[in-house]
Symmetry: C2
Subunit: 417 residues, 2 copies
């Protein structure tokens, strides 16, 4: 299978891009038309697709179910009771809706943590997306529960090998306040042995820090360091309430940080210390979080929030420029997920989008990256390609009507159950 993209705007000039199998094979001025599929991309820009570095994909089913509430009421009376009723089939349809939403808004990779692993894995597999998928590992400091979760994770790891290379198993210990030291130690070891990523919520709220200080007489990242889980394979989500010593530990261990601006704002969690992270050259990615704390999966919206949040926080117009912000959601994918992607470059994975330069929000085009970060909406995404396969063309995804209908039914059924 090969795709030839003709005459797309790439770094300011018109280029042809040849995709062979799942890679960008050649980029040149005038490639001849010897491809299985040809895309005339006049009036379009070619760009790397986005990586959504923190999701709970199936939570699309809870979009708008409960908002604007105090955290504990929201979790205890709304989210957790609904989650307890979820079946693998619900998660499958919820994740399919999530994949549809992401494809439509130019995302081809997501890093997920949720219940019913196979529901999400099957959805991502069928939708053609690239996904790092972990279950939620929670033991509530119960030894038996810990043993059970470890057994389950080992089993899921083995079962995950049945999927294509696009579906990558990772480990998802939820947070230090829900997972025992024993389980976290196992995660650290198992991840190292099997070269897996670890997906962990860290210091999302000040309460988490206070509780950790009380229980362990140290701060969360210091505690994680003691356990030995800090490393280049750790994706530390949220990571708001950190002191300089913790940031030093994160840097020393090459931990990756995932910033979730909209979720942090909607839940009033706090401000991710982006300036310190970038000053110290840590690798930062961007994620939307789940649909009950956002409430969508649109990375174009997320990067605008990422820029604006820090500009107002520091009262500094020059921080988080369009260019700097854009890189976090594209260029940084390579380091975050250890995959050759995040740029339009020969040899890189063919995960990319075509953006319609004739959309009203992209005119004029003095500065494409500024337009993408500060102006574009998802209706600017014309074509989405993942792993060398076309997932969306002219804004249409195959089978989208069925997905929407089935996800709607699953949600309606879920709250009646």
């Amino acid at each position: 299978m090969s795709i030839l993209i003709k005459n797309a705007l790439l770094n300011g000039s018109r280029s042809d891009i040849l995709i062979r199998a799942n890679r960008i094979d050649r980029i040149d001025n005038n490639l001849t038309k010897d491809a299985d599929e040809i895309i005339q991309a006049d009036g379009m820009a070619i760009l790397p697709s986005f990586a959504n570095a923190h999701t709970h994909a199936a939570m699309t089913l809870m979009r708008g179910y409960a908002d604007d509430m105090v955290l504990q009421e929201w979790l205890e009376n709304y989210i957790w009771p609904l989650e307890a009723k979820l079946t693998q089939k619900d998660v499958y349809w919820g994740s399919k809706l999530a994949c549809l939403e992401m494809i439509k808004s130019g995302t081809t990779l997501f890093n997920d943590m949720y219940w019913h692993f196979h529901g999400t894995a099957r959805a991502a597999e069928e939708m053609g997306m690239r996904a790092f998928i972990s279950g939620v590992l929670i033991d509530q400091f119960d030894k038996e529960k810990s043993d059970e979760m470890i057994k389950q994770n080992k089993q899921l790891f083995n079962e995950s090998k049945e999927y294509s290379d696009r579906i990558i198993f990772s480990l998802g210990p939820h947070a230090i306040y829900t997972v025992s030291e024993k389980s976290l130690s196992w995660v650290a070891e198992f991840a190292r042995e099997n070269e897996l990523l670890v997906h962990l919520h860290v210091s999302e709220t000040k309460d988490e820090v206070d509780q950790c200080l009380e229980n362990h007489n140290m701060r969360p990242v210091e505690y994680l360091d003691k356990i030995g889980i800090l490393g280049p394979n750790l994706l530390s989500i949220h990571s708001i309430w950190l002191n300089n010593n913790e940031i030093r530990l994160l840097k020393e261990n090459d931990v990756k940080l995932i910033h979730t601006p909209i979720s942090n704002m909607k839940l009033g969690s706090g401000i991710f210390p982006i300036e310190k992270m970038l000053d110290r050259n840590l690798t930062v990615g961007i994620g939307t979080d789940g649909c009950s704390s956002n409430n969508n999966l649109d990375m174009l919206e997320e990067i605008k929030f990422a820029s604006m949040l820090h500009k107002i926080h520091f009262r500094d117009t020059t921080i988080m420029s369009a260019e700097d912000t854009y890189k976090l959601a594209t260029y940084n994918t390579k380091k975050l997920f250890n995959l050759n992607m995040g740029e339009i470059k020969e040899g890189y994975l063919a995960d990319l989008i075509l953006l319609d330069l004739n959309n009203e929000s992209m005119i004029p085009n003095y500065n494409l990256i500024s337009n993408i970060v500060y102006s574009a909406g998802k209706d600017c995404v014309d074509t989405t390609i993942c792993d060398g396969k076309i997932l969306m063309r002219n804004g249409k995804v195959e089978g989208e009507e069925e997905i929407k209908q089935k996800a709607r039914e699953a949600a309606e059924d879920l709250i009646k159950r």
Copy 2:
């Protein structure tokens, strides 16, 4: 001319809505099909269109031209030199692009301040939008310039009567640091005599307050009170740096406040004191500002920012709920602009939109207003109607290709000039 909208979701149930001339004539369960045009709105929700309460529409031509800069450098080296070269034709095409963008994102009313009044007025007239349009009144404390601006504004007021009822002349003194007391006094009087709205930037930056204290030994709103310009016809834009006495003065005079969250964030201006305003029952609207400080005119995006900004600022998940935020951009239109609009209600102006409930970001539909504020993108807007005329249907606006082409050309020509 009459339009019958069949089977649209209105306040949770299916309704038929009959539009006659420019009004919503009847709302009922099963209206017979005796209309010039029938819209089958199954799978759609009917809602009031948005009012964008602060724009510099033609600045679409400067979208992405200069970002992420220190305020003075940005204004002096980029924006002002470009503005000095603008012709009425540029403003016409820039405003047409702005109207297109607003129609596509569900806005039918905008409140504008810019150079070349007739460029904007003609664009809004032709595009079928409702617009309060003021010139920029700046005299730089020069008596001759003041006389000239007053003469020009009187003339524009007379000329504006040639347009339809949708185009409403207002007065646009720029700010207290660019307009003399003499001109501001004239504005106050002329507005009262002729029942005009006044569009004024107030206390956008702390510098403005400091300078006012130095020059007048009082704060900006106190100074405006002394001049006698505070009143129910004053739309006070930005209005960030206010103390409680100023808020009391604004309330006593029933001044309307316009909140521009994205612009305030992008320019690092500060945080609009929304809680105090709503606690004291002042009337607040929402605006996007111009495209060089946003960089789009999408009210769906703007209301999400409005909610998120204050949730994170106060670390309070319950402030600026979806419902409360939504009202500022719709329901409040009636009070802000003294027009019967902002709700779907018999006798009200037929300024409304149909939203596609089958868009992936609107599924499931537990809470429509939550979905609109927190999830929807402009691709959810299917139909836009203003003053009883259909401006967009199935996401398409008549003549949009020409507008985009001409606006692009105007922008390209402008920076070469």
